[in-house]
């Protein structure tokens, strides 16, 4: 009987510790997005941000402009080749 009581007490404390551990783990998971957000904002200095008037994008999103400017590159590798490469 005494032996049974000891086993029950041990199981109960294991159960309670188990619950406690799970509760401790939860907030860590919730915290992680905040931590990530900090890292991302630190890793993105102002120099990486596109300027308000981005000339690169202005031209490279303008199909008409690109059509008039882009020239056909010569195919340097396969034009005179014969057979399977």
């Amino acid at each position: 009987m005494r032996h049974r009581l000891i086993v029950m007490a041990a199981l109960t404390s294991l159960f309670l510790f188990g619950c406690q551990a799970a509760e401790t783990a939860e907030p860590r998971v919730e915290n992680s997005p905040t931590a990530e957000a900090v890292v991302v904002s630190e890793a993105a200095p102002a120099a990486t941000l596109p300027p308000a008037n981005d000339y690169c994008l202005e031209c490279h999103t303008d199909q008409e402009k690109l059509t008039s400017l882009a020239t056909k590159e010569e195919d340097a590798h396969s034009s005179e080749s014969e057979g399977v490469g």
Partner: protein, 381 residues
């Protein structure tokens, strides 16, 4: 694959691209150049592909884990080419071989952008989706754009009379279903599964270096093991590569020669012959990871005179490597002519690489893979 129009190659789809994380980064941050409304000024000092492996790879700034070891990827360092070129040529010929390599082979070199942003340069380049960066490469516009004439055609069933690979026909699996990002980003990635790579450095020197990655057993893990109901798996385990029984006719090539055109100044190649083969031979790379006695072999288009445009007898050590190479055809079938009966292979001289099937000038080079005596017939006919 139809080539892209010149404008299309550099056209950014504004709304789609700006909606992505990369759209929040200034173009000059990765590409250099400068902000100017004058095209020439804007492009001065610009790096069209800032994703080359090694120092200056702008992808590595954020994607360190993926890019850090990319210089160890065979896609990046083309070590497989160098291994065979070094073996077949004497040191005195290396300068000429290097200039040949620069003209004809180095365009196969791959950057991060060649898989995630653009079509590879070797097929004309150009953005796949308006500079939107694709996490997963496109099977047809990236992978088989380069690996098309053999792997792509076999896998997709484009060779006349030969069905496509069962993994594609039945499972609609694309390349990345087996070939993982880890494998693509670092050809030595699989070594770390068993070895402490912080203590021992590995460098894959060709696609069959180290562990099989991917391997058929990654999915078919019960094959050849206790309880496998297919007796042939148990009988042939470790004696035959899977492809010996489960692949069908695949492409081999002969006599590739390279030169630079007098007319245009451009490098070009000519391949003498391309034909369907199914040939079983001895395993030229037998080791712990590939213990097989027999494998299927593909004839590669090297010949003693392949590089004669660059100098005489450049492949002075031609016999150092077989011209019938270990192969892993991508046209796997559950049932093949070989699986019909034991004697489809046993006692069948047609499917083994015997001396009579090798051209006399390549006989010496192929001694390690020629089958001296074909396995005898089983039972009474």
């Amino acid at each position: 694959m139809a080539p892209l129009e010149p404008w299309e190659k550099v056209f950014i789809t504004k709304d789609e691209y700006l909606a992505t994380a990369h759209g929040q980064i200034a173009c000059v941050y990765c590409h250099g150049g400068q902000q100017s409304d004058d095209m020439e000024t804007a492009h001065k000092g610009m790096i069209s592909d800032p994703s080359e492996a090694g120092e200056g790879n702008s992808c590595e700034t954020c994607h360190g884990d993926q890019a850090e070891h990319f210089d160890k990827s065979l896609h990046s360092n083309l070590a497989g080419y160098w291994e065979t070129l070094d073996a077949r040529s004497g040191a005195e010929n290396h300068p000429a071989i290097e200039s040949m390599f620069g003209n004809h082979c180095s365009s196969c070199h791959t950057t991060c952008g060649d898989c995630h942003i653009s079509q590879p340069g070797s097929v004309g380049g150009g953005f796949i989706a308006g500079h939107v960066i694709n996490k997963t490469p496109s099977m047809t516009r990236n992978c088989t754009a380069c690996h098309g004439s053999r792997v792509g055609n076999e896998y997709l069933g484009k060779n006349e009379g030969t069905p496509g690979d069962v993994h594609f026909r039945e499972g609609r699996m694309n390349c990345v279903a087996c070939h993982t990002g880890a494998e693509m980003h670092n050809s030595d990635a699989s070594c770390a599964q068993c070895h402490d790579t912080s203590k021992v450095e590995f460098q894959a020197t060709n696609r069959y270096s180290g562990a099989q990655s991917p391997s058929c057993e990654s999915c078919h893990d019960q094959v050849g093991k206790q309880g496998d109901q297919v007796i042939q798996h148990v009988l042939h385990a470790e004696k035959l590569s899977c492809q010996v029984c489960h692949s069908v006719s695949y492409t081999s090539c002969d006599g590739c020669h390279v030169a630079v055109s007098d007319k245009s100044g451009n490098p070009f190649f000519k391949t003498e012959a391309t034909y369907a083969t199914f040939v079983i031979g001895r395993n030229p790379v037998q080791n712990y990871h590939r213990p097989y006695e027999y494998v299927v072999l593909r004839h590669v288009p090297i010949s003693q005179t392949s590089y004669e445009y660059y100098g005489e007898n450049l492949l002075s050590e031609f016999d150092a490597l077989p011209t019938w190479k270990y192969a892993t055809p991508h046209n796997i079938q559950r049932k093949t002519p070989q699986t019909e009966s034991c004697n489809a292979c046993h006692g069948n001289p047609d499917i083994f690489l015997t001396e009579d099937k090798v051209s006399p000038e390549e006989l010496q080079a192929n001694q390690p893979v020629i089958v001296p005596e074909i396995p005898s017939t089983i039972g009474t006919p």
